[in-house]
């Protein structure tokens, strides 16, 4: 398993393909996703919007392999490979990245150590050579500078004592270093002021290229002013109920979800 090396991803090629995905909470026997169909192509930014409790975050967790969810039906593939049977680290090595809504604080583990371990673990899993300390340092300094992350922040334990904005920038830094094929951003705008959001959005936009797909999960249209989506989906009660262009996000911003949900009911 693992993604092929080198170039070869063409724009428009299917990156993520989700078919009829049904998911329950393992402990509560509660159905969360009730038949999600979604295809994200390489080079495209798809946004998922929807009210609280519609299943947006669950979708991101299920795709990244978090415990506690049971897939009862359907499939999800990344470049044609079934990811639902993979361990979280295998999904990461295959090119999937989740920017967490609530990045986890890990006292005692230095941010640099963490990132270097992650980068080299993925390289190893893909049969590539590990990055040397010098190479890594050079790379991370350049990436960190773009995101206005100072050397001090890199030395600190992962996310410990970071402000909300710093945590989100740290997620984007990880994304930049790991160079995933599919980036899932779970409410990356939550807890950010306008300036911080712009910084994060710039970081994301810098990573947009033809070989990479994005799935941006958000409540608000605001983030989508900065990360311009190609496709917008509305999720409600565990399903994608409407799909459209960027104008769909504006419609939500102006009228709320009620009109759209009534229309598709």
């Amino acid at each position: 398993m693992g993604r092929p090396c080198g170039p070869g991803n063409e724009k428009g090629k299917q990156m993520l393909e989700i078919k009829n995905l049904h998911v329950e909470l393992e402990e509560e026997d509660k159905k969360i996703l009730k038949g999600v169909d979604l295809t994200v192509e390489a080079g495209k930014v798809h946004a998922i919007m929807g009210p609280n409790g519609s299943g947006k975050s669950t979708l991101s967790y299920v795709l990244s392999g978090r415990d506690g969810y049971e897939v009862t039906e359907g499939s999800a593939t990344l470049e044609g490979n079934d990811i639902l049977d993979m361990e979280p680290e295998e999904r990461a090595a295959a090119g999937l990245f989740l920017a967490f809504q609530y990045p986890v604080e890990i006292p005692g583990v230095g941010n640099m150590t963490f990132l270097r371990t992650a980068v080299n673990a993925q390289r190893k899993a893909r049969g590539q050579e590990e990055m040397s300390a010098t190479e890594f340092l050079k790379e991370i300094r350049a990436r960190a500078k773009d995101l206005k992350i100072d050397a001090e922040m890199l030395k600190r334990p992962v996310n410990v004592g970071f402000s909300g904005g710093e945590k989100k920038r740290n997620e984007i830094l990880q994304m930049a270093m790991l160079e995933p094929k599919l980036c899932i951003l779970d409410e990356t705008d939550s807890g950010l002021d306008v300036d911080a959001m712009k910084l994060v959005a710039d970081g994301v936009n810098a990573l947009r290229d033809e070989g990479r797909g994005f799935l941006v999960i958000t409540h608000y249209q605001r983030l989508l002013n900065h990360i311009k989506p190609d496709v917008v989906h509305i999720m409600s009660d565990g399903r994608i109920v409407k799909t459209g262009g960027p104008e769909l996000a504006l419609e939500v911003e102006n009228n709320g979800y009620a009109d759209i949900l009534a229309e598709v009911a």
């Binding site: 392999g65 680290e89 990045p103 005692g108 583990v109 963490f114 371990t117 980068v119 990880q174």
Partner: protein, 425 residues
């Protein structure tokens, strides 16, 4: 009060198996210590301070057999420039040791020290002071019967650490070592200890630190799985002096590390820390007693234990703040990371305070690996095994960071990583 017969019998049986070294300046101290042993009796399972650790194998006349374990690894502290003194099953090995010459430091062997020696005023003194309010009979036994050890006197700043290396070569060795360390005013010394020492090891180190003196101690107890050890450090600190001790324990069927600290001069600082990793048949006990008897002193106790496959950890830590020891700053934390349901951690934190202007905090926790953190690491591509190791190292970090010297910190972290990665196969 007369000792219970069972205790008296066990004590006499143990004493009968030992020979007291004869003659020389320590003789008087040995006889005093012998009196303490007979008065207290050796530890018994019903003693309050031995409630969580069975003392019988430490007390029985013969040492239980302990298989030799060749780890095949590079020597501990191998990368540290130090003056090495080697003991094999509790006997000093001159040929394997460096010449005992270090500027500002005098080093003598307990076994052949001359009749007049500075250590005469110290040997057994701090141990005897440390017998109240809690009895430590194994330490008194040590003073009475120790056959070897080093007497270290630092008169200035030592240029490099003294490294005591304890090799284990006999499956039935029963070693009793007693070290005395005297740090003069303004002097500074680091003592390193490493190795399994013997099948059964009883070790006492008395450390007397004069005003403004500094003593650092970093110890790695050997990985022989079946070894047993009962060790005790007794230290007395003068004004503005510093004592910092850290111990890493990995493996060993039974370890009891006691540390008895007396802060007698104002503005003194005492830190004692331990990180232990146990897998399977492993019992590790840290028993600490810190007495604040001066103004504005600081003490810290930081103990972390990683336990798996039924390993057991014990912590008994006490801070006693005497009347008048105002502005005391005492901190105590003991935590365990239990990697399965079979492992166990028992903690008994105690505070006894007779001054009204002090800050003392204590905490104790037991927990499993943080699943959220584990998922976060795995989602970034780190396999479950290495991710768990990373979190384990992070858990131990607070204790390891108590070591002031960063290269020694690295040395310890390297040993922790190696231990963990061996367990992943």
């Amino acid at each position: 009060m007369a000792l219970p017969q069972v205790k008296q019998d066990a004590t006499e049986a143990r004493l009968a198996a030992l020979d007291m070294p004869k003659g020389g300046w320590p003789e008087a101290a040995r006889k005093d210590a012998m009196g303490r042993v007979r008065a207290m009796g050796l530890p018994h399972a019903r003693d309050e301070y031995w409630k969580y650790t069975r003392p019988d194998t430490l007390v029985q006349p013969e040492a239980p057999e302990a298989a030799l374990f060749d780890d095949g690894d590079a020597p501990v502290f191998g990368g540290v420039d130090s003056l090495k003194l080697v003991f094999v099953d509790g006997v000093f090995d001159e040929a394997a040791s460096d010449a005992a010459a270090l500027e500002h430091v005098s080093i003598d062997r307990l076994a052949d020290a001359p009749d007049i020696h500075w250590a005469k005023d110290l040997y057994g003194t701090l141990e005897a002071r440390g017998q109240a309010p809690v009895q430590r009979p194994l330490a008194a036994l040590n003073t009475a019967y120790a056959s070897d050890g080093v007497l270290i006197h630092a008169t200035g700043r030592a240029a490099k650490p003294i490294s005591l290396i304890y090799r284990h070569r006999s499956t039935s060795s029963d070693a009793i070592l007693h070290h005395v360390v005297k740090i003069d005013s303004g002097a500074e010394l680091t003592v390193l200890e490493s190795g399994p020492a013997a099948a059964r090891f009883n070790k006492v180190m008395e450390v007397d630190i004069a005003d403004g003196g500094t003593f650092h101690h970093v110890r790695v107890q050997g990985r022989d799985h079946e070894r047993r050890a009962a060790t005790a450090i007794f230290t007395r600190l003068g004004t503005e002096s510093v004592f910092k001790s850290f111990t890493l324990t990995a493996n060993g069927v039974l370890t009891r590390n006691e540390c008895v600290i007396e802060l007698t001069g104002d503005d003194a600082v005492a830190h004692v820390a331990g990180a232990c990793m146990g897998d399977g048949d492993f019992h590790h006990d840290d028993t600490v007693f810190i007495t604040h008897d001066a103004l504005n002193c600081e003490s810290r106790q930081v103990f972390k234990k990683v336990l798996r496959n039924g390993a057991k950890g014990v912590f008994q830590g006490k801070i006693l703040v005497k009347e008048g020891a105002q502005k005391t700053d005492g901190y105590q934390i003991s935590q365990s990371l239990l990697l399965d349901d079979d492992s166990q951690f028992l903690a008994k934190p105690e505070l006894e305070i007779y001054a009204d202007d002090v800050a003392c905090s204590h905490g104790s926790t037991s927990g499993a690996i943080d699943e959220e953190a584990l998922f976060y690491l795995r989602s970034r591509g780190i396999d479950e095994g290495p991710a768990t190791d990373l979190l384990t190292i992070a858990f131990l970090a607070e204790a390891v960071m108590e070591i002031e010297d960063e290269s020694l910190q690295d040395e310890i972290n390297g040993l922790v990583e190696a231990w963990l990665s061996r367990r992943r196969g």
